[in-house]
């Protein structure tokens, strides 16, 4: 059991830190969705030029092919340096790209993967529908074969950056006679295709980060089907075997930084009764609890990564840390609002947007698997309780 890095790992950390310090954009990521995407593409290009594109991708596909510990170091230094949010490149780098690496054919890999690494194209995800959220396998957007094309009709929702993405990983029902997840196909959808309409959805924080996407007789070449017709469910799940938990480290460090900012705030601010928060035992107690839980989250992250090093592919127990992180994030940001009191009633222009972060924290127990579903997965697949 160990927390130390070897000399080679320390040297790698120095290399990462040096490059990041010299190359992180000085200006913050713009709030405007389209300007934000332009920013994302430029930052991805810069990482590509520096040799840091696709850090977890195999080198044969243009990635850096970092080991698990090196990935951990990259994500830690990235978060510590305050490097930009991955933004609209999350799906391309962590989902769509890896899916193609695992299940795409050579033509698909050769065409799509380099354009992600260079920052030329970003991706969005077309999975959830208004009628199919937690019950994704019930999805109804259809793809009917006509000649050498699929004709797609239906609707997707919660498509993050759908309004500013070049490609979409789209999950369709291609065989309505097969039940639920058996008749689904995973296809690459060009977001500029005729028949696609995108309506951005304003989220609780006022941002236009995700969208509804409508498909009206959209034609997609059959050559865009990945992994074969009606294999979509297994293709969609294949990225689970790619992820080693290293990206969690970045989130954990950001949360730790937020909690330490709250400790600073408590030291600086007074409550509405004029008493410094630093003298408030209840607030100190809550902050102490958060520090302890954030520490535990880091330890759990290292344990997940340790399992990856043993060669274990993440299983249902990954729901444990996801659930812990989601609940902790909400609890932490609630405290920041309690510290600020009426000062949190106005959204600040340039400083740290505490109310915005508090509202944004609600998504962590909803997106990517609700807390309720995660508890079901833990109960059933980790603990063996009956369905």
């Amino acid at each position: 059991m160990n927390l130390d890095l070897s000399p080679e790992e320390e040297a790698f950390r120095d290399e990462v830190r040096t490059w990041l310090d010299a190359n992180i954009p000085k200006e913050p990521r713009p709030h405007d969705p389209w300007q934000g995407v332009a920013f994302d593409k430029a930052w991805q290009r810069r990482q590509y030029d520096g040799g840091w594109a696709g850090i977890a991708w195999p080198t044969e596909y243009g990635g850096r092919g970092l080991s698990i510990v090196q990935q951990l170091i990259w994500y830690e230094e990235y978060a510590k340096a305050g490097a930009p949010w991955i933004g609209s490149f999350f799906v391309a780098l962590n989902h769509g790209g890896p899916t193609l690496i695992l299940r795409g054919n050579e033509e698909q890999k050769a065409f799509y993967l380099p354009k992600v690494l260079t920052g030329e194209t970003n991706w969005c995800q077309g999975f959830s529908e208004p009628g199919s959220g937690s019950d994704l396998a019930s999805l109804r957007t259809t793809g009917v074969i006509e000649g050498d094309e699929l004709v797609v009709n239906g609707q997707k929702t919660w498509t993050t950056f759908g309004h500013a993405a070049d490609f979409q990983e789209l999950l369709l029902r291609t065989d309505p006679d097969l039940p639920r997840h058996k008749g689904l196909s995973w296809v690459v959808c060009d977001m500029k295709s005729p028949g696609i309409t995108v309506h951005p959805i304003r989220d609780i924080g006022g941002h236009l980060h995700f969208a509804e996407v409508f498909y009206d007789n959209v034609r997609i070449p059959l050559t865009n089907v990945v992994g074969g017709l009606n294999a979509g469910w297994s293709v969609a799940l294949s990225t689970l075997s790619f992820e080693r938990g290293t990206a969690l480290t970045g989130y954990q460090i950001e949360l730790a930084r937020d909690v330490e900012r709250m400790v600073e705030l408590a030291g600086a601010l007074k409550g509405m009764d004029g008493r410094p928060w630093a003298k408030d035992e209840e607030m100190a107690s809550r902050l102490a609890g958060l520090r302890a839980e954030v520490a535990a989250l880091r330890a759990m992250t290292y344990a997940v990564i340790s399992r990856g090093m043993k060669g274990e592919t993440p299983g249902p127990e990954s729901s444990i840390i996801a659930l812990y992180f989601g609940e902790l994030g909400k609890k932490a940001h609630r405290l920041s609002m309690d510290l600020l009191g009426p000062k949190a009633l106005m959204r600040p222009g340039t400083e740290h947007d505490w109310p915005g972060e508090y509202l944004a924290a609600f998504r962590h127990t909803i997106a990517g698997g609700t807390a309720e579903i995660r508890r079901n997965i833990i109960g059933e697949r980790v603990l063996g309780l009956p369905r």
Partner: protein
């Protein structure tokens, strides 16, 4: 390389420990019955463990130990915690470490060999500085050395130094609990300079709590699979399934933070005190909340003396007072520098 899981050697040891404890320390041994017989059974168990040398894993060979480290001790005490093994076992380990640190190698060996038994006393006098506080003794025999934890070190008292002893009605009936008063300065004082014995004690108490939380989770899950109502196992219902999931989450947090803290203490890292406080707080929450929830999920049975859930809760109440309660840990977390 960052690695937080047991090594193959450690896994082998754990398998042996687990098999032994499953056989020799089933939870049934603590059920209500003849208190005298229970006392004797526990003493026999402790003698067996002492013979196997597992209590001396982290002690140097010169003192009769295996020359391993606190991470091995932590793994062992997690298993011991699962079976509610008496805190006397940990008191023995800490007593031996204290004697060694204070330069009394003979005493350390005697404790390791079992010639001198040790038991914990928890101070109940608030803000105690001088050595004159009231204490609660845990499974202390009349001839046992008494181990008292303080933030700045560990004290050993000779049995006669604990006066006005009265055996009482402790909240945990599986332990012989008595009250008394400390009288006089410690026979042995092992001061903690930095990451010392105080932190080691805390890490290992945390391991007992972490193991307890895990055992109670497993027991509750098993119950949820066999107890049927409305035609199905109650674990089918989300109102039962989800609290079980939350128990599992608390166990993961407790186990891995305990490991992190153990490594920090072992390696003398600057954040050892911070991580140790975090670990005890998280493990205490896991033990107390899991045990409380377990009572709830056992329904009417959970409210009986027959059900083991109550035993886990009561032991958690005792263990959380060892090596500083929640308030102490929170103060430590706020007075130490933050983690970044």
């Amino acid at each position: 390389m960052t690695y937080l899981l047991p090594t193959p050697d450690q896994e082998e040891l754990l398998a042996a420990v687990s098999e032994f404890l499953d056989h020799e320390a089933p939870i049934e041994r603590l059920r209500p019955g003849d208190a005298e017989r229970r006392r004797k059974t526990e003493q026999d168990l402790l003698a067996q463990i002492t013979n196997l040398g597992w209590h001396a894993l982290g002690l140097p060979e010169s003192a009769g130990g295996s020359d391993l480290s606190i991470t091995d001790e932590m793994l062992f005490f997690h298993e011991a915690g699962r079976r509610l093994v008496s805190p006397v076992l940990l008191a023995t380990v800490i007593g031996a470490h204290a004697a060694l640190q204070a330069g009394d190698a003979d005493l350390a060996s005697a404790i390791t060999l079992g010639t001198h038994r040790c038991a914990f006393a928890v101070e109940t006098t608030p803000g105690a500085r001088a050595w004159d506080s009231a204490v609660v003794l845990l499974d202390a025999g009349p001839d046992d050395l008494v181990v008292v934890w303080r933030p700045d070190g560990v004290a050993l008292f000779k049995p006669h130094q604990i006066i006005e002893r009265r055996e009482g009605d402790g909240v945990d009936e599986t332990l012989v609990m008595s009250t008394g008063w400390i009288s006089g300065d410690p026979a042995v004082w092992a001061a903690s300079n930095g990451a010392g014995l105080s932190l080691r004690t805390s890490v290992l108490v945390t391991a007992l709590l972490s193991g307890l939380a895990g055992a109670v989770k497993d027991m509750t899950v098993e119950y949820a699979k066999v107890r049927h109502q409305f035609g199905v196992a109650i674990g089918t219902f989300q109102a039962v399934k989800h609290p079980c999931a939350d128990m599992a989450v608390r166990c993961e947090a407790a186990l891995h933070q305990n490991t992190f803290a153990a490594i920090c203490v072992r390696d003398g890292r600057a954040d050892a005190a911070f991580q140790t406080a975090a670990a005890k707080l998280v493990a205490t929450d896991a033990a107390m909340t899991n045990a409380s929830q377990s009572i709830q999920l056992h329904g009417g049975m959970g409210y009986t003396d027959e059900c083991d859930a109550g035993r886990f809760l009561k032991r958690a109440l005792v263990l959380r007072e060892l090596a500083g309660g929640d308030r102490f840990q929170r103060l430590a977390l706020m007075s130490e520098a933050g983690p970044l």
